[in-house]
């Protein structure tokens, strides 16, 4: 074929077809008159990378096939070749939005296996920082969720307060997003000067920012129309399909590991467990907003009750000796050397330890053969299990409801795919 005028056609070589990394049932079962839409792994509104292949009848979603795994980074395989200490940065990057909770859940699992009891100050600090991370996670989830249905202002408000919190945590841990702050037997460092004062300032400021979002969204006609009765799931379905965390609580079941099986300092704190009524998107949004308030209340109680004392337990099996001793005594030097090079020697056995992360039950199943390197580390990630059941919320709805529903599930790619 030629174009008049004489400029020659650019003959392109045949493009090699791109390999398809997933296979769906839909290839076999194709119904006439249905449209198959790929809401692909690179999409502005699928938090992280997940592929949803939806079979549509007009605008109504008949079936969805959800494909996680685009962020599978081989965490469990990495774990089998690093020492127990060296895994803490990897563990951080599981649920990267609330990284401290992962740190502490992992450290507690190893401490259980070693039989190490952390100091009271460390317990309260870990509780405080877990709740702080939970606030950040809920802020991020809500911000991204409402941005996707069009509320840019709420997103920018929440990002601003989140940035102040990141700077505050960077003052404590050295990093903004992935902290690597937990240590087996304690924490990396104690609180710097003025940290608690700034914390109180930030909590007051976040009430203002989150209050603005409440004012913009809670009784907003458009928001309610888009989120009420959308993505409904019942309590029985939720439990059967393994949902935990805010999703289960939004269906009305007051299940929270912090109340049911208290760990860290939660037994000493006074807090409520917010529940929803219908299990729809609006309830999940509101449960998260209320959980932010409860977390702020818990943080204030922790600050008031924070005991003094050392951060790290004085146990040479897992805690590095102080540098002054390392440079002067030979035993401390060797201890330090062995802990770094070979890792702490964790007794033979296996343990499953679960924390209430911001998405639900985050469990670590550790198998040790007595060496400084784990035999196996398995993460029971709430997001992965939720992905297995999210089709219950998507099927039967509208195409445009896939985005807010999926946003309210808060699937974090690092946690889901590990």
């Amino acid at each position: 074929m030629t174009a008049p005028g004489g400029i020659g056609p650019a003959v392109k070589p045949a493009v090699k077809p791109f390999p398809n990394p997933v296979r769906t049932d839909f290839d076999r079962i194709r119904t006439e008159g249905r449209v198959y839409v790929n809401i692909g792994p690179s999409h502005p509104a699928t938090h992280g990378t997940v592929q949803i292949i939806a079979e549509l009848d007009g605008e109504r979603v008949v079936r969805t096939d959800v494909h996680p795994g685009y962020l599978h980074r081989g965490f469990e395989k990495e774990c089998e070749s690093h020492t127990w200490h060296n895994l803490i940065p990897y563990v951080d990057r599981l649920n990267y939005v609330s990284a401290l909770i992962n740190d502490f859940a992992y450290c507690e699992a190893v401490e259980k296996l070693m039989g190490v009891e952390i100091t009271p100050r460390c317990r309260y600090l870990r509780t405080l920082l877990s709740e702080y991370s939970r606030i950040i996670d809920h802020i991020t989830c809500i911000a991204a969720g409402v941005m996707e249905i069009g509320a840019m202002t709420a997103f920018l408000y929440l990002m601003t307060i989140r940035d102040y919190m990141y700077e505050h945590l960077a003052n404590l841990t050295g990093a903004r997003v992935t902290y690597s702050y937990g240590r087996i037997g304690g924490l990396a460092a104690d609180l710097p000067e003025g940290w608690l004062a700034r914390l109180e300032e930030l909590l007051v400021q976040q009430e203002e920012f989150v209050g603005r979002v409440h004012g913009l969204m809670d009784r907003n006609r458009i928001f309610i129309d888009r989120m009420r009765d959308v993505g409904v799931i019942s309590t029985a379905d939720a439990i059967n399909w393994g949902f935990t965390g805010p999703i289960l609580r939004s269906t009305g079941a007051a299940r929270d590991l912090r109340k049911d099986t208290p760990y860290l300092a939660y037994a000493d704190l006074d807090f409520d467990v917010p529940v929803g009524i219908k299990g729809d998107n609006y309830d999940r949004y509101y449960v998260r907003m209320r959980e932010i308030d409860e977390s702020v209340y818990m943080i204030r109680q922790c600050v008031d009750a924070l005991p003094g004392g050392p951060i790290n337990v004085d146990d040479r099996r897992c805690v590095l000796p102080p540098k002054s001793l390392v440079y002067t005594e030979i035993e401390s030097l060797i201890n330090h050397f062995k802990l770094i090079m070979d890792g702490p020697e964790v007794p033979v056995g296996d343990v499953y330890s679960a924390h209430e992360a911001s998405n639900g039950e985050l469990g670590f199943y550790l198998v040790s053969t007595g060496k400084g390197i784990p035999h196996k580390v398995h993460v029971r990630s709430p997001s992965f299990v939720h992905i297995g059941g999210v089709h219950l919320m998507l099927d039967g709805g509208q195409l445009a409801d896939i985005i807010p529903t999926f946003g309210s599930v808060n699937m974090i790619g690092g946690e889901c795919d590990r």
Binding site: F18, P19, N20, P21, V22, R23, D25, H67, P68, G69, H72, G74, E76, K77, E78, E80, S81, K112, L113, D237, I239, N240, W241, G242, T244, A253, R255, D260, T261, G349, D350, V351, Y352, S353, A354, E361, G363, Y365, V367, H375, K376, H378, R380, F384, V385, I387, G388, G389, D417, R418
Partner: protein, 157 residues
């Protein structure tokens, strides 16, 4: 309260299970693979272990049977957890599926299958969940080298 539930479970299930112990607050039952579906059904129906938390496998390369399939269940009413362990051999790594009992089993069994090669008899959908089509091998087995990549796209020069 946890102890009473554990004692109850142990007493009722004692004939069919191999061993029972309590490790770090979790009741651990070790049983042969054939008993699995029955015991899980009883745990769900009689003892209200209504949430299926996790299934994974542990690879013990020198031992026979090689794989240990580990299940975790949680009871939202009693607030206790139970761990079930069963051993399967490398030659026939098959266990029964829990999909008829718990919906969450679908994706978790897919992941366990692709990582270790455990075949869940009765689960029709064992496509790779975290890995991709065309990936050969089971990466979390101890004999899969960590650095062996299987790229889907040709590298540039």
């Amino acid at each position: 309260m946890a102890d009473s539930v554990f004692d109850l479970v142990q007493a009722q299930l004692a004939p069919s299970i191999g061993q029972a112990s309590v490790a770090h607050g979790v009741l651990v039952l070790e049983l042969p693979a054939a008993e699995l579906a029955g015991v899980v059904g009883r745990l769900k129906a009689e003892f209200r272990f209504d949430m299926f938390l996790d299934v994974t496998a542990v690879d013990w390369p020198g031992q026979d049977p090689r794989f240990e399939v580990v299940y975790h269940f949680y009871s939202t009413q009693h607030h206790v957890r139970v761990r079930l362990k069963t051993r399967v051999a490398e030659a026939d790594p098959t266990v029964d599926t829990l999909v008829p009992l718990y919906g969450s089993a679908r994706y978790m069994e897919r992941e366990c299958h692709e990582m270790y090669g455990i075949v869940f008899r009765g689960n029709a959908d064992l496509r790779p969940a975290l890995l991709y089509e065309g990936f050969v091998g089971h990466p979390l087995r101890k004999d899969y080298p960590k650095l062996q990549e299987q790229p889907l796209v040709e590298y540039r020069k």
